[in-house]
Amino acid sequence: MESHAIDTASMTSQESNESLLLEARGVTKQFEGLVANRDIDFDIPRHSIVAIIGPNGAGKTTFFNQITGIYAPTAGTITLDGVDITGFQPHEVAQLGIARTYQNIRLFQNMTVLANVQVGRHVRMRGQWYHAILGTASIRREEEATVAKSRELLELVGLRRSVEDELAKNLPYGDQRRLEVARALASDPKLLLLDEPTAGMNPGETRQMTDFIARLRRDLRLTILLIEHDMKVVMGVSERITVLDYGEKIAEGTPAEIRANPRVIEAYLGKQATSA
């Protein structure tokens, strides 16, 4: 699987779609005259950790937003687990199993830590408003199960039980990142999107987060897509890397291949770097 030719980005035909969780074909987004990204093909194999890198304004976050349904692509298709999710609403995409975190942490600040995770569980719950009013036995069981599940996840991401009634905004920065991951995990996602999960972290915290990402894949059998600026994180944890520049895919391959790719070096360091 790591043997993709750099630059071509096309799939070899013998690979069956069964092994792919997400397939994006020719995805394009145009805002009025501005093309945010153009004709991107992108695959995420099951249980892999893949990364998107690229300079600022390369269209990484736009691509994220297309996958999660915030932007409908102007052209192209996105398929999740065999379902064409192009043009789906964000909550429908969440329902189908994509969860995400945000570059600049976006928790429900004035809700408790536990409630944040419980909201994450929303798509896996069935209780309607009339159930809630009637207080049926099934809804009580569901609530109890949700609390139990949420606590389990808080423990998994390493948050102490004592903080569960704190307001999210009162947590220290690192814990807020953890809470965001717990909230994302609460929806039992198939695909977890992490938008610069180590932004603002010191080297020690970054290493912890990197280990944690690897562990998530191993223990929860998750598939993870990363956006990262920190090359060390990307190189260390991901199997495949896609490089975007000016809204286009300029390279794809293993960390080693990417490191050696002249176009990538050029995009990051400028033209002189390659010619020198």
Partner: protein, 569 residues
């Protein structure tokens, strides 16, 4: 050094604010309106307290900062003196120049009252002394430890409030044959000196004792087994219900009427609380649902309405609720994509549109235009005067009080259950960050519509009950003021808090009814109260637990930065 000068400026600035407040109260006419109400007969009238309150309060605020007890006390004194000086200048000025042409309320009766009938110069001097003492007292209260401050403040407020209740307490005590107590407590529309001392002592002791007793009781309950705890909870609820049921019998006809208004607004606020407090959708057109509830009920139940149906109330009710929920969807749908300010403006428009529609000539055959709909039958029984129920004779306001109580209980129950459910959390998440909520899987469109529909259904209940109380409905009732008042209740009580809604309507609807002199200043006082609340206690009187933390944790982290003192000075 710097601190000293800062404190001086602060004291003078607050003194200036206090003086301005006092002048405002005087020229608007509130002081004179309350000059006849005694708080403690022969000692102090309510009007006088209003003159003393600003220097007292701002002396308190001034002393919040600064180092050294003496300095802080001095600053408070200075605030009071500055305030008194402004009043003094005003008094001397009006004694020389007649300004009644501009400020009609500055009458000789007023100046005589403020001057203690001693002439302008002496009166001014006395007022400076009183204001200075008030400022010093305020600072003193601030400087003392909370252990003394709390009982002192609550006891003082207790005396004022009990004295205000005189017009209602005295006749009721007489009715119950307790005229002895009435005579002991009250004299000439105010408390007697002895009674004031007794009331003061009772409140002070209660303030000290209450938390201790509560903690002890809690501990004792916590020590018992779950079964007993459930029984205790049940008993508490039962006592509360019995109390609420007996309340109109104790309170008498007039107070029951007040309770009906309080109940009506509690119901409306419970509904709006779902929309604003839970889902964070600022709806300024809530009156529309109240109007729809009223008109639909009138239309269906009145025998002389356009429909000529004359349905019984309880058969009409489901149709009314359905109609209101549909109206909620109808209003909610177009504003789905709007946020914050835009939503507020559009809903404000919808509120006005509804009133104008009900008033319009085009719909006159249905809603009767300005004449409205008459002959709405009562909710219980056949006439609006009295109904025998289980050997009891319900009459007057209690005919509406009990149904309202029932509906309030239902609405509170529904609101409570929703709050701690999947739906309630989704609403809160939407309030916090709509985009993230949606990306987390919340169908924001459905949840917004649900909030509007449920809020509308509860609001229409208020209209449905109230139209049977008045036996008629007119478009004039449904002014924007209703929306604003309901919103104010929620803000005052605490956003998203169910007990807060009750306290809010007691304070904003009940109190003004009790203080009839307030009637013409009601909106003025509303505005003032809201401004003070936003500055001093933005989470409301009985805040939601999480919200209290949200607004006060930050203060715990860094010392309270009180009102900006240098601003504009």
């Amino acid at each position: 050094m710097n601190d000293g000068r800062g404190l001086l400026r602060r004291a003078l600035w607050f003194g200036f604010i206090s003086g301005a407040l006092v002048l405002y109260l005087i020229t608007v006419g509130i002081v004179l309106a309350f000059s006849a109400r005694n708080t403690i007969t022969g000692v102090v009238a309510l009007g006088r307290l209003m003159l003393v309150a600003p220097p007292l309060a701002l002396g308190f605020v001034t002393a919040a900062q600064g180092t050294g007890t003496a300095r802080r006390l001095g600053a408070g004194l200075l605030t009071g003196l500055a305030s008194g000086l402004i009043l003094a200048i005003f008094l001397v000025f009006v004694s020389a120049v007649d300004i009644r042409g501009i400020l009609v309320r500055v009458s000789p009766a007023l100046t005589t009252f403020v001057n203690f009938d001693k002439g302008a110069t002496t009166g001014a001097a006395i007022n400076v002394a009183i204001a200075g003492a008030a400022g010093l007292l305020g600072a003193g209260v601030r400087v003392m430890t909370a252990r003394f401050r709390r009982p002192l403040v609550s006891a003082a407020l207790g005396v004022v409030i009990v004295s205000m209740l005189e017009p209602f307490l005295y006749p009721r005590l007489t009715d119950f044959g307790l005229i002895v107590i009435g005579r002991f407590l009250f004299d000439h529309k105010g408390l007697t000196v002895v009674a004031a001392i007794v009331v003061f002592a009772i409140f002070a002791v209660a303030t000290v004792g209450w938390p201790i007793a509560r903690r002890a009781t809690r501990q004792r309950i916590a020590a018992t087994d779950p079964g007993t705890q459930a029984t205790i909870r049940g008993m508490t609820l039962l006592v509360l219900i019995l109390f609420l049921l007996a309340l109109p019998q104790i309170a008498g006809a007039f107070l029951s009427q007040v309770l009906v208004f309080v109940g009506l607004y509690t119901l409306l606020a419970l509904g709006l609380n779902i929309v604003v407090g839970y889902a964070g959708l600022l709806d300024l057109g809530y009156v529309a649902f109240y109007a729809v509830g009223s008109y639909l009920t009138a239309l269906l139940t009145s025998p002389i309405s356009a429909l000529h149906l004359g349905l019984p109330f309880w058969i009409a009710l489901p149709i009314v609720i359905l109609g209101a929920a549909l109206t909620g969807l109808f209003i909610g749908a177009p504003v789905l994509r709007l946020r914050g300010d835009y939503l507020a403006i559009v809903t404000l428009g919808f509120g006005e549109i509804s009133r104008i529609l009900f008033l319009s000539d085009a719909l006159k055959p249905w809603f009767g235009g300005a004449q409205g709909i008459l002959s709405v039958p009562p909710l219980l029984g056949v006439n609006h005067i009295s109904v025998p129920i289980l050997g009891w004779e319900l009459s007057g306001p209690t005919l509406t009080y009990y149904p309202l109580l029932f509906f309030c209980a239902v609405a509170a129950f529904v609101a409570y259950r929703l709050k701690y459910s999947r739906v309630g959390r989704a609403w809160n998440a939407m309030r916090e960050d709509e985009d993230v909520a949606q990306a987390t899987g919340v169908n924001t469109v459905n949840h917004k519509l649900l909030a509007f529909a449920l809020g509308a259904s509860v609001g229409c209940l208020g209209g449905a009950v109230f139209v049977t109380h008045l036996a008629s409905v007119f478009p004039g009732t449904f002014s924007i003021l209703v929306s604003i008042t309901v919103l104010s209740i929620i803000i005052l009580g605490g956003m998203g808090s169910i007990p807060g809604v009750v306290v809010g309507s007691l304070a904003l609807i009940g109190l003004p009814e009790l203080l009839r002199e307030f009637a013409e200043f009601k909106l003025l006082v509303y505005g003032g109260v809201l401004v003070v609340m936003m500055v001093a206690r933005p989470e409301g009187l009985v805040p939601d637990v999480t919200r209290r933390r949200e607004l006060h944790e930050a203060e715990a982290a860094e010392p309270v930065e009180a009102l900006p003192s240098s601003e504009g000075a």
